[in-house]
Symmetry: C2
Subunit: 203 residues, 2 copies
DNA sequence: ATAATTGTTGCATCTCGTGCAAATTTTCTC
DNA sequence: GAGAAAATTTGCACGAGATGCAACAATTAT
């Protein structure tokens, strides 16, 4: 990777982190783009070269596309062949994608703080989740051999993202085994969905 | 209802309808608050007495709280006692709540147009759905005797709202039997959820 | 080293959104 | 009904968000 690209990434990260830090400290409405830019050592105009809005900077690190490699495997029917199993593997890999575990967990905790302090950001976050939902639906359809816009797959994807949201709410921030814990919660959520919407269909 | 309240409702409606019409005609970014206010015959300042943002005006008629009476019955375990049955009754009653059928269907079709033309509005719409989801979770918890913040109820509510979104996508705008059609789609969606997440648990 | 490409910055400008006080309209009381 | 009281609308000033454009600076390519 060239110097240019590395610098751009660094600037983007600096802007995002400054935005988050200042917002957690003083509240979003008290934090101006000017202040964020100053903290990241760029001009205010440059801020808008990176982000369309102030909110965009705060939510920039929210994953909204599944992990490419894992998606591939999932679409092909793997890795285990058991739907809910492979689904949670895909979700966990995508949500806690890059970076080391410690960093990812810190990001997740920080996002909870952000949402608690600035509820106005929630719609934006839900919008990101919706993007993920779209890709997910497509992956599920591909795996089951259905057309790309298959309604069942779309619904399954939406419910899966609901399970993700719920699981994220439930796993405590300072949990030791972040990933395994999240995977367990997901499995539990899937089971709950089955129980609630298919109550005892035994013969 | 006094003259004062009636006038306020009329103004609010006029502003919303002007905002929607102008946006569908010219696109949201080309429509200023000044233009909307002029079309509704009030001053620009008055617009902001009714809505905090331009987007708020466009989404003002999106239901974000369940119908009070039906919620009551649902929480008490009625009307039929069958969970998915009563749930879809609550949802349909809440989403197509007040006003005559024709109007409601027109609103729904118009909202689809809005979302198609202005995808930026989607997060806002999802935010409204999320509010509905919260109330719904509370109602489900109440019905099942669980504490108000019961995770299972929250998950069920989220999945139910996913089913609602999916069903709305599927029912055609010019359908004759709007309500019944929607109810059928909901039932089908619930069944799908059961099938996907509880695959053949027979002994 | 020099040219070409890409990113940054300052400036002008438009619009959003809010606080405040004056003017207007509706409602209440006698 | 007339006038006081309450609520709503409006104009004005102002800070900040967001964008287009052209000059400037830094990186990359030749």
């Amino acid at each position: 990777m060239g110097l240019r690209e590395r610098k751009k990434l660094a600037t983007r990260r600096a802007l995002r982190e400054a935005a988050v830090r200042l917002t957690l400290e003083h509240g979003l409405e008290k934090v101006t783009v000017e202040a964020i830019s100053a903290a990241a050592d760029v001009s205010p105009r440059t801020f808008f070269n990176y982000f369309a809005t102030k909110e965009d900077a705060l939510l920039d690190d929210v994953t909204s596309v599944p992990d490419e490699a894992v998606r591939e495997a999932f679409a092909a029917g793997g890795p285990t062949g058991v739907f809910v199993e492979d689904l949670s593997a895909l979700l966990v890999a995508s949500l806690l994608g890059s970076g080391d575990l410690e960093t990812r967990r810190a990001d997740m905790a920080q996002r909870k703080l952000l949402m608690a302090r600035e509820p106005h950001l929630l719609p934006g976050l839900l919008g990101r989740f919706h993007s993920m939902e779209l890709s997910l639906a497509s992956a599920i359809a591909e795996r089951s051999g259905a057309p790309d816009d298959d309604p069942r797959s779309q619904l399954a994807a939406a419910a899966a993202m609901s399970a993700v949201r719920q699981s994220m709410k439930m796993v405590p921030d300072q949990s030791e085994a972040g990933i395994d814990e999240l995977k367990d919660r997901l499995a539990e959520s899937f089971r709950t969905l089955g129980e609630v919407f298919a109550p005892e269909t035994d013969a």
